[in-house]
């Protein structure tokens, strides 16, 4: 790939999604953008680059952004955050919201929906305790294609074996040929919307629990700070934010503070895990 083409693509991606591509990731750009070039009947990346320069076709720019920002996901990814959710976060916030009896949960950069549906499976297990509660799970992703996939709740055989215990598959999924679809009941617990984390988040409303895992790693420092600060505006003081294992708020923003003793969990300061035990 020509250096000027790489620079043009990486500037475009930075502007539209916050994704930072260093030159050692040229192979990634090539392997992800070749299918886009083919879809648009172009010979290769040079033609793709020329077209982007001369003709600002929104649909093409969107395809390029989607191809670069789509990432593999799995059910109950890393397991521990979900144990934390079930044993600590959910009970504590239920106590705090006992009068209101409502909770809103956000799966930010939700990809094909596995995180959101993992949460709906946990909430389904806890249904007896949650009778009379209004619980909303909202998944957002920059990719329209991913949002559509998440809404459909249809997964390949490979995908349903990534992190999903077999008993959960039997309990919550219906088989259709070589695909598996999550039950309508669980699909109704979650909604999905196309949304850019770099944009205005206020219309999404307030969230008590935010999962934004393995997203910040793709951003540079100023973008990380901007995203964390706009997420903070959508959360109450005692809300909690989940980040990925390799991510932190330290040195990026002082809005969020680590929840003591709970790895990967952050709050604006009003959530305490004191006395908690997570097996």
């Amino acid at each position: 790939m020509r250096v000027e083409d790489f620079d043009m693509f990486s500037t475009l991606l930075k502007q539209r999604s916050g994704l930072v591509l260093t030159r050692d990731k040229a192979y990634l750009l090539e392997s992800r953008l070749m299918p886009v070039a083919r879809k648009w009947n172009m010979k290769g990346l040079e033609e793709l680059a020329t077209t982007v320069r001369t003709r600002k076709d929104e649909a093409l720019l969107r395809d390029i952004t989607e191809a670069m920002t789509t990432n593999e996901s799995s059910f109950f990814r890393d397991q521990k955050p979900f144990d934390q959710f079930r044993q600590l976060v959910l009970p504590r916030l239920m106590e705090a919201r006992a009068a209101k009896r409502s909770l809103r949960i956000w799966s930010a950069a939700c990809s094909s929906g596995q995180e959101a549906y993992s949460l709906s499976m946990i909430l389904n297990d806890e249904a007896a305790k949650l009778a009379g509660w209004r619980i909303e799970i909202v998944g957002t992703d920059i990719s329209a294609e991913m949002v559509e996939r998440a809404k459909s709740g249809v997964y390949t055989q490979f995908e349903v074996q990534r992190g999903l215990p077999i008993t959960m598959l039997v309990k919550h999924f219906k088989q259709n040929g070589d695909k598996w679809q999550i039950s309508q009941q669980l699909r109704q617990m979650a909604s999905f919307r196309e949304w850019n984390l770099l944009g205005d988040l206020s219309a999404l409303g307030q969230f008590d629990i935010v999962f934004c895992r393995n997203v910040l790693i793709y951003f540079d420092q100023p973008t990380k700070a901007k995203v964390l600060e706009s997420i903070a505006r959508q959360m109450p003081q005692d809300g909690v934010l989940y980040l990925g294992g390799a991510e932190t708020v330290l040195g990026i923003t002082d809005k969020f503070k680590p929840v003591e003793g709970q790895r990967g969990l952050y709050s604006l300061g009003g959530f305490s895990a004191a006395g908690a035990k997570v097996a």
Binding site: Q157, Q161, R162
Partner: protein, 121 residues
């Protein structure tokens, strides 16, 4: 070190599975069918069994039913690993006492997470 018995009539599958399991720190032994697996379990009960369904001599589901009736046969964690990928087979395996179920083809990631889920890792 935990032990795992790999039961599959395909030498290639046994080899692939063995390599993945050894990387996860299991001491592996192999059996080509359910009958050989019964003999291996009678000699020494493994901690885990990765079990194919369709095999000559004795198939996986029959082996599992007999295993669960053996003395000490309720302790090994049994993970099916088969091309049978429909709900009916999965339910039959679970009611016969399987702990997890892998639909072939598999990769190391799937084996690792399934083994972790049943408490082997």
């Amino acid at each position: 070190m935990k032990s795992c018995l790999v039961v599959d009539d395909s030498r290639v599958v046994r080899k692939v599975a063995r390599k993945i399991l050894e990387e996860l720190n299991f001491a592996c032994s192999e059996a080509e069918d359910g009958k050989q697996a019964m003999e291996a379990c009678a000699a020494q009960m493994p901690d885990a069994i990765l079990l194919d369904w369709n095999m000559p001599v004795m198939n996986g589901i029959e082996f599992l039913r007999r295993l669960r009736k053996m003395s000490g046969g309720e302790t090994p964690k049994v993970v099916f690993c088969t091309t049978e990928n429909d709900l009916a087979h999965i339910q039959e395996a679970l009611s016969a006492g399987a702990n997890e179920y892998i639909m072939k083809p598999f990769d190391s990631d799937i084996i690792q997470t399934k083994f972790a889920q049943v408490g082997l890792l």
